[in-house]
């Protein structure tokens, strides 16, 4: 165990400090490369009436243009392996659903020539109504902006309907009628652009054998390989991925961005093609962390117990599903936070809007729900006039407590964590709270309402 707890030098640190690390944009190929640029939707929502690339193709320096017609399999879904159908075209076909959505890509001798060709592509759009506010997605008169409707319809776990993640535990109505107070809160963390200093970039070099060598800045190498192979309809041995050097990702380089289209251009032109997104494209069209809308109502007692929680989560997927159903699923696990709440009523929806598709960022889904839960816990303590540490410590998970999903906890660390927070903040706890441990509940820490929840648990390993 030489590495654990030791400060080791970064394995790639030396290359970084001398400028020798080879990022994708630094890779050089013998005969040079063509440069790609994309025609992106100038509209948030529109029908494509006409797309004509003929004039652009004639411009000097242009070697090839790819539209949806050139793609063996244009529509592919990130969750197909889980049985969720595909919804997102690699290049827009008849509809554009977010501003910045790619419609065509051009490869030319220089970035300037590629850009000139992009501007020469003739595009005619018929504007459609837009939807940006997830709260309005369910209104009867809301515009229908996604082929599946305005929210994701393919959940359907054993105890839930197809259109939501649903968690039910205990007797929520009894909890609310037994409560002394109901404390409500609405939490709306905003979208965040990952903004890596290296923008999305790919370089694809065709080999004589027909294999593509793909230099990629992806954070998810084998996943990206699968995505490219699916769109190209080629076996994995036709792709050689070179990756592992990422100029910042933070989750924003999980979804495959530049590799597939660069590969298609390389196949079409039989030349190496590099596509380096501009900073503006990165802000406009790369995925962001999702915005969420979360509503919490807690049934609480004056002496500081949480009897029940009702929660609604709306997860803004942007225009296509990608991994959002997975992000929402985190809310279905984490909406009680590190606290024990015996009665639960949770509904979560993945909602489509005309925003850029959203994705992972530093704790996909968990950070947003944790923000809401911890803020709400403090709000309850304030409302009841209780010390926020003491309120947390009482309700903190103990061995034998069960989660909203019914898993029995065997090694929760909430009590120790809160003790550590108090110490780091220089706050002194009352002796009985400082003495608390994660040991199974008993005595005053095991009121009647927590007895049944312990009985109903099941092992996490079952």
């Amino acid at each position: 165990m030489k590495a654990v707890g030791a400060r080791l030098p970064r394995y790639d640190g030396l290359g970084h400090v001398v400028g020798e690390t080879t990022f994708v944009d630094d890779v050089r190929v013998p005969d040079g490369n063509l440069w790609a640029r994309a025609l992106r939707s100038p509209s948030h929502a529109a029908r494509i009436v006409r797309l004509d690339t003929r004039k652009a193709a004639e411009l000097p320096g242009v070697h090839g243009i790819v539209t949806h017609e050139d793609i063996p399999r244009n529509v592919y879904g990130h969750l197909e392996a889980l049985g969720v159908p595909a919804d997102e075209p690699l290049l827009a076909e008849d509809e554009v659903r977010y501003k910045g959505q790619p419609i065509a890509v051009v490869a030319a001798d220089s970035e300037e020539e590629a850009q000139a060709a992009v501007e020469a592509i003739e595009l005619e759009l018929e504007e459609r109504d837009t939807l940006f506010d997830i709260r309005k997605a369910f209104d009867p008169d809301a515009p229908k902006i996604h082929p599946w409707g305005n929210w994701f319809p393919y959940f359907g776990g054993p105890d839930e309907g197809p259109d939501r993640r649903k968690v039910r535990k205990g007797d929520i109505d009894k909890a609310f009628s037994d409560a002394d107070t109901i404390v409500q809160g609405v939490y709306r963390p905003a979208a965040i652009e990952h903004c890596p200093t290296e923008t999305q970039v790919a370089l694809v070099v065709p080999e004589a054998s027909g294999r593509l060598v793909i230099y990629s800045c992806t954070q998810a190498m084998y996943f990206s390989m699968g995505v490219v192979a699916a769109h190209l309809e080629v076996p994995l041995n036709k792709l050689k991925f070179v990756g592992g050097t990422v100029g910042g990702g933070f989750g924003g380089k999980v979804d495959t961005a530049a590799e597939t289209l660069s590969g298609l251009l390389a196949l079409k032109t039989d030349r190496a093609v590099k596509w380096r997104w501009t900073r503006e494209e990165e802000f406009l069209a790369s995925s962001t962390r999702a915005p969420w809308h979360m509503e919490i109502a807690d049934a609480v007692t004056s002496d500081g117990w949480i009897l029940g929680r009702k929660m609604l989560t709306l997860h803004d997927a942007g225009a296509y599903a990608r991994f959002s159903p997975y992000g929402l699923t985190k809310h279905a696990f984490h909406h009680a936070g590190a606290y024990t709440i015996p009665n639960i009523h949770f509904d979560g929806f993945v909602v489509f809007t005309n925003r850029v598709p959203t994705t992972a960022m530093r704790g996909f889904g968990v950070t947003s729900v944790s923000f809401a839960v911890e803020t709400h816990i403090s709000r309850i303590a304030n409302t009841l006039g209780l010390d926020p540490y003491e309120f947390r410590l009482k309700n903190a998970n103990r061995v034998g407590d069960t989660t909203p999903n019914g898993v029995t906890l065997t090694d929760p660390s909430t009590v120790a964590t809160i003790h550590a927070v108090a110490e780091a903040a220089g706050d002194t706890l009352a002796p009985e709270y400082a003495a608390m441990t994660s040991e199974p509940r008993s005595g005053p820490l095991l009121p009647d309402h927590l007895v049944t929840q312990q009985r109903d648990g099941r092992s996490a390993h079952a």
Binding site: P9, L14, G248, F250
Partner: protein
């Protein structure tokens, strides 16, 4: 147009308005300076023009005709790190590394001008440089360490192996 880059003289016939960044990266294959934004807003493309820190993406070739340009590659290599490079390595000032060459070059220009900067001086001098990974603290620590004369050729206590040892470990050679 004439340009000396890291000691090597070049004669260039490029468009006089071409950004120096592209001349360096695409014509001279000097890839240490990075194209983070190409709008002057991030600092990853920073180089030295006659010793002063400049954004190479904002600098048309015509403005540096006859100048001496130094990039990260000109400051040291993996077998002979300059003090800032060693400090960034040792203090974890480089994480993904994409901002690093610009940061080190700008810090170098600062220390040449002001060998004993305060932390505030360093922050001011690097105000145009974005790092999305480190949170800046380790970068400031590294530059401060150089400013107070810390040396980096020996194993530094129990913090971590010294630079030479990590050169051997990573197998990087000059």
């Amino acid at each position: 147009m004439k340009l000396t880059v890291n000691g090597r003289a070049h004669d260039l016939a490029s468009d006089p308005l071409r950004p120096l960044l592209h001349v360096l990266r695409d014509e001279l294959d000097v890839t240490g300076p990075k194209a983070g934004c190409q709008q002057g807003s991030c600092g990853t493309c920073t180089i030295l023009v006659d010793g002063e820190a400049r954004r190479s993406c904002l600098t048309p070739l015509a403005l540096v005709d006859g100048a001496e340009v130094t990039t990260i590659e000109g400051l040291g290599d993996a077998t002979r790190l300059n003090a800032l490079q060693a400090a960034f390595h040792q203090y974890y000032g480089a994480q993904c590394g994409f901002c690093t060459s610009g940061m080190i070059v700008a810090a170098h220009a600062l220390l040449e001008r002001n060998p004993a900067p305060t932390r505030h001086d360093i922050q001011t001098a690097l105000a145009g440089h974005i790092c999305r990974c480190t949170g800046y603290v380790k970068i400031l620590d590294a530059i401060e360490a150089v400013a107070r004369g810390e040396t980096f050729t020996e194993t530094n206590g129990d913090r971590q192996p010294g630079v030479e040892e990590s050169v051997a470990k990573t197998g990087v050679s000059g």
